[in-house]
Symmetry: C2
């Protein structure tokens, strides 16, 4: 999917919501555990109930790998289901990969080609040659960790190097990499005041923003400082939507929660 197509979808759906498909078998409705593939059945129901309210789904690979072969199969069925039934959806493999060049190429192939995700999250610690193999795929996107939403973000990301924090060096440096037009960035919602600074460095880039909801971030605050002319934000919510209920009404309740966020986003887009 091109960035232009993503922006078009945002205006069609009046939403820049991304739903995180982080499926934990301990948290899904009990009746699904009797099915052959509970993870996929859960995802399918959530997707069917919310696809018109969001522009993106983001399965975090950890939740699939934790169930071994069966989990990997559920991930494959989930991405195939989205690509077949809702090709207008922007898909994100939240994998946070990164390795030396020839190895990163293998990860890139796995997520962007074989599984056919539109994008994949990547960790920056190993630098340029660990990220560029992901950037080489046309009309695919690499979402680089910049400032994450967890406490540990303050261990290294916000450390000053010269007069500039490391996460800003990541933003600055990444702009010089080959095919950097395919970059987006992860920026946690729990630190809305940082968005002003970040927008000075990457005014035009899309930012994937986790941390709204369960992790305590505010949608209004993030939009106040983070929106750009093309919206430029993908706001993720996972637990707040997919675990709104663990009874048989889980899909309907997930829709209700997604609808609240979509309505809030529609208002924000109107006043923009």
């Amino acid at each position: 999917m091109t960035t232009a197509q993503l922006i078009e979808q945002i205006y069609i759906k009046k939403s820049f919501l991304c739903i995180g498909l982080d499926v934990d078998l301990n948290k899904i409705p009990k009746h699904l555990l009797q099915t052959e593939d509970p993870i996929f059945e859960f995802n399918k129901s959530i997707i069917d109930a919310t696809h018109d309210l969001c522009i993106s789904y983001k399965p975090n690979t950890a939740f699939y790998e934790a169930y071994g072969l069966k989990g990997w199969q559920s991930l494959q069925k989930t991405i195939d289901y989205i690509n077949t039934n809702y090709p207008e959806i922007f898909t994100i493999a939240d994998a946070k990969r990164g390795d030396i060049g020839n190895t990163s190429s293998m990860y890139a192939k796995a997520f962007l080609e074989d599984l056919n995700f539109d994008s994949v999250t990547v960790a920056p610690y190993m630098g340029k040659d660990s990220v560029e193999p992901f950037l080489a795929f046309e009309n695919k996107h690499t979402i680089l960790l910049a400032l994450t939403s967890n406490e540990g973000a303050f261990d290294f990301q916000t450390k000053l190097s010269g007069e500039t924090e490391i996460y800003k060096h990541v933003l600055e440096t990444s702009k010089t990499w080959k095919n950097s037009q395919n970059l987006m960035y992860v920026v946690g919602a729990t630190k809305a005041e940082y968005f002003t600074e970040i927008r000075k460095i990457v005014p035009d880039s899309f930012l994937l923003v986790p941390g709204v909801g369960a992790q305590g971030g505010s949608l209004q605050e993030v939009c106040k400082y983070g929106l750009n002319a093309n919206v430029g934000l993908l706001i993720n919510s996972s637990r707040g939507i997919i675990y709104a209920s663990n009874e048989s009404d889980f899909a309907a309740k997930a829709r209700e929660e997604a609808l609240k966020l979509q309505k809030e986003m529609e208002e924000i887009l109107k006043t923009k």
Copy 2:
């Protein structure tokens, strides 16, 4: 496996060699492609031919994920084969994972519990709460990226913060984390002169050293600066050993290459 058991194995085998099982179907002998599971057949032959010369095997997960479900199955069969037949081997899942706390827990469970690796490599960018879930497993080890062997290492890892490089902050800070006795570190061999500095910060820790061989690092140089009282080094070689030949003699040739390194290590241990 405990650290004491690992050290014991090093002295029994007179080796601190780790063999990287980075299997690329384009590089293995053609006759294996006719078998049902070429990746596993290749690994099995390499392992049977070299297990007495090395103390560790390190599959890089990228090479398995690149083949989807079948690849994941090959990884599972490989680790099961090692654990069943050669339980004295220290196994490393070279996965370079790291995410927010509850998500890192899922990765830790996948690699250290379900697949039952002795250790897993982890990226430090997201800080303390992204690494501690891995450290919580008893007699398991978390191998944190400190200074990697690629060009991109100079993008952020060697940036100065105050008077200290970021990778040294990673080493220093990680020592304060809960269960830090379960930490080891990745330090690339292509920068032997850095080992003196690193040993000042982590004198007792094991260092996993990639970059000897194909990437140009020198075993002698690394040992000169990196060895400690308990050896404290796991030297990895991947391509130089496993792709020594792509004919039917590949396992015998891999043994020859592994033997060269083991003999060199035996000499180093003698003069230590």
